[in-house]
Amino acid sequence: MLTREVPNYKDISGCAIVGIMSENGNRFHGGQIIEAIANMHDRSNGLGGGFAAYGIYPEFKDYYALHIMFEDELSARETEEFLQRTFIIYHKEVIPHRHDTSIQKHPLLRRYFVIPIPIKEDTPDVVFEHLSDDDIVFRSVMEINTGVRGAFVFSSGKNMGIFKGVGYPEDIGEFYQLEQYKGYIWVAHGRFPTNTTGWWGGAHPFGLLNWAVVHNGEISSYGINRRYLANFGYHCALQTDTEVIVYLFDLLFRKHEMPLEAVCIALAPPFWAEFEQMSEENQKLALYIRMVYGGALLNGPFSIIVSNNDIMMGFNDRIKLRPMVAACKNDHLYIASEEAAIRTVCPSPDVIWHADGGVPIIGRLKTAPPLPLSTFYNGRRVAI
């Protein structure tokens, strides 16, 4: 189930995506998102579905919640030994799931709430490198996913979790009992992979630290994005191009501390032909970002929803080769592949619109620090 070749290739996916956020941070249970994604049943083919939810572990909010799937007890034991060397494991449990659904086969599913062991001055005999907690988690996830046979970390953020598997998304939601969780951001994905064996780890969302990405499309620039990321220690361990999107957000936003808007310009820069209509300031911004981050440019058709604890963002490729609709109702932001999915759960939104190619739609938690914004996307609908 979790066995996979050394991944030197990628999957190609069609798919449905949807995301719902309360900007006030009000938590709501997973039933709504299941209803919305189920509405787009025909966009997936039963080979993968999944969800990400933020704000679901308030009692463990200072711990990294590692969701791990194991092929067998052996790989679980090996992984736990690995974790014990690096982390304090505060709590460990099986990820609750049902056996009376249409999901008839699944790997071992467990979650660990951990923090890295602090470095003690009296034990200097270790290979030392000054790393942040995030970097330690990042490296450990990379090591387990590439080095431990039959183990796969599919969620590694704080106060958030990813739930996914092989099946239709609504069945996966039922399987994981998502109606029992309450979160302020929910994203979901229904998968239509076109050349895959359909393994549990290959379903969306893809996550790393607090990031989760759901993706409809294919990244035709995958080959160079992957090599660009390798320069910075990211090793694509999965069989899908979506992985590079997560890593690019982690690299640019977290490690390079780029403002979110600059990240968007790097991933989907404006066309050179648009430069004449831009202010000198914005021309410089776009030109410099494109010169330096050309390897991060995402090409090919995509519509994605990217989320972390503070934001939920919808984003399209530059010429909009995949559908994306957004809507607002009170403090709620809805983003989906189809308008019908939004109207199922929010019949009369205050405003509803089709996203522009290459222009992000950003929902932000009102309590989060404000995003620095340029005039770059002025006049185009960016955030609510």
Binding site: I12, T194, E218, P301, S374
Partner: protein
């Protein structure tokens, strides 16, 4: 005259029924393959003098001339081939090194023809360049690894400076060909075409003629071991400066422009006395190690106030990846790599035919090495040597090149027929010669038009191929080896190129 052991390469045949004795062939052939006898009123042909440049056949108004490979066959021998025997006959007569021109013409594998490109089907749409933007703009030069942003007051701006770059409308440039090795008209055509196409032409090592300085913003000037024509004005006129360490056609070898080609104009441009041989030593006599290269790079940067990207051109030799990495660490903003198929005005045949490695391997090795060392952003890679068509360009970029240089292809666009006799100085097409009767045959206006057409045609084709792959920016092709598949390659070759086999 005593008869040589050498038999003619070509047989020139004239159809007497078609020949009108207009003597165009006689006037056009600088090699005296045709002769007119007034008393007999007859045109004679001496096949032994024919180099196969097709000038006479092309210009013959009645198409009465045909040129064939000599049918005189040696006894078949896979080891002692006719070219081996002919070389020995030649050397036993002259006692000299064999000379050759243009690129390696031997039967080595052509790796461009062993790689195939990808295209989109169903799951991602191909993009139609006639209807959608298709971006080829390329910037060459050193880039920082990351940008620092300033967000004070909620306003977004960039705190990092980017060193000066070369902006190319399409990632193709004209390779280094010196004034001296080629005629003024040819140099002029390359410079003007580059300027009008938004790309760059490389002056080569022979200085920059005053009349070409108007195109300085689209010129890369070269500093080679002979240092011909180098002064501060030369450096500051150009957009970028290239230190020539080696050349693909003759790695490890210097250059020699014979004194008879050094006329007044070349003498002024190269800053050497008229009629003297222009000798480029094999090494730069101030570069015996990598730290010496760093000194020269920074001396030039100082002389140009850090306003010009510095390129280092090296021949693709066995250890090319390490040499490139060292050059980048020495401060090069651009690494130009010239493969073993790269052309030349003159090189010892044995060197041209047996030294160096294919450019495809060199691109792959250098790109991978710079990435492994985390310094790929510090320099752009320009690949040269045997790039024949736009598909070769796309493959070179997919392997990891930022841009490519074309030399031979540009000469062919101007009329060159690849007779490989540049070293004789008798180019009937007016390109590789300084003979005023021959050079005026190359009409610069026509040559500019042909060069611009070539660049335009290739850019249309590159756009079509990019669109087929489903990408609309050259950045998404550069180094994207997923878009290449090998055919008929060994596992080892595939792994060096970093590509998968067709069907994988």
């Amino acid at each position: 005259m005593r008869k040589w052991l050498l038999q003619p390469d070509f047989i020139v045949e004239r159809d007497p029924g078609k020949c009108i004795k207009c003597q165009v062939c006689v006037k056009q052939c600088a090699n005296d393959a045709h002769d007119y006898d007034e008393q007999l009123d007859q045109v004679f042909t001496e096949s032994a003098n024919c180099v196969g440049c097709h000038r006479c056949a092309t210009l013959c108004p009645t198409n009465s001339i045909s040129i064939k490979k000599s049918s005189l066959e040696f006894r078949p021998n896979a080891n002692w081939t006719s070219s081996v025997l002919r070389n020995i006959y030649h050397q036993s007569e002259t006692g000299g090194m064999l000379l050759a021109s243009m690129g390696n013409d031997q039967d080595f594998p052509i790796y461009w023809d062993r790689m195939l490109l990808n295209a989109s089907q169903v799951t991602n749409p191909s993009i139609d360049p006639l209807r959608e933007p298709m971006e080829l703009k390329t910037y060459l030069g050193s880039k920082p690894e990351r940008l620092e942003f300033d967000t004070t007051g909620g306003k977004l701006s960039i705190n990092t400076d980017i060193p000066r770059q070369l902006e190319l409308s399409i990632p193709i440039m004209f390779s280094a060909m010196s004034y001296g090795s080629i005629s003024f008209n040819a140099s002029y055509a390359l410079a003007r075409a580059a300027s009008e196409c938004g790309i760059f032409a490389n002056s080569g090592e022979g200085g920059l003629h005053p009349d070409l300085r108007q195109f300085g913003t689209h010129m890369i000037v070269q500093i080679a071991s002979g240092r011909f024509g180098v002064d501060t004005d030369y450096l500051n006129t150009a957009a970028a400066i290239e230190i020539k360490i080696g050349q693909g056609a003759k790695p490890g070898i210097g250059g020699h422009l014979p004194g008879e080609k050094v006329d007044e104009q070349i003498s002024r441009t190269r800053m050497i006395p008229m009629g003297t041989d222009a000798l480029s030593p094999a090494p730069h006599h101030d570069i015996y190690s990598i730290e010496d290269l760093a000194q020269l790079i920074y001396a030039i940067k100082e002389a140009t106030q850090y306003q010009k990207p510095i390129s280092v051109k090296i021949a693709a030799v066995h250890n090319v990846a390490a040499i490139a990495s060292g050059s980048v660490r020495a401060g090069a903003d651009i690494i130009a790599i010239d493969g073993f198929r790269g052309g030349t005005g003159a090189a010892p045949t044995m060197i041209r035919n047996h030294v160096g490695i294919p450019i495809a391997f060199a691109i792959a090795a250098v790109d991978s090495r710079l990435r492994e060392e985390g310094i790929r952003n510090k320099a752009s890679i320009v690949a040269a040597g045997g790039i024949r068509c736009s598909a070769d360009v796309v493959k070179a970029i997919a392997l990891g090149a930022d841009a490519i240089y074309i030399g031979t292809a540009a000469l062919v666009a101007m009329g060159c027929h690849l007779c490989q006799k540049c070293y004789t100085g008798k180019c009937n097409w007016g390109i590789a010669t300084q003979d005023p009767i021959l050079t005026k045959r190359l009409n610069p206006e026509t040559a500019v038009r042909h060069l611009k057409n070539l660049i335009r045609a290739w850019s249309l084709e590159v756009k079509e191929m990019l669109g087929g792959m489903g990408v609309n920016a050259i950045e998404s092709l550069r180094g994207n080896r997923e878009h290449l598949r090998g055919i008929g390659l060994t596992d080892r070759e595939l792994s060096i190129l970093g590509i998968k086999a067709a069907g994988e």
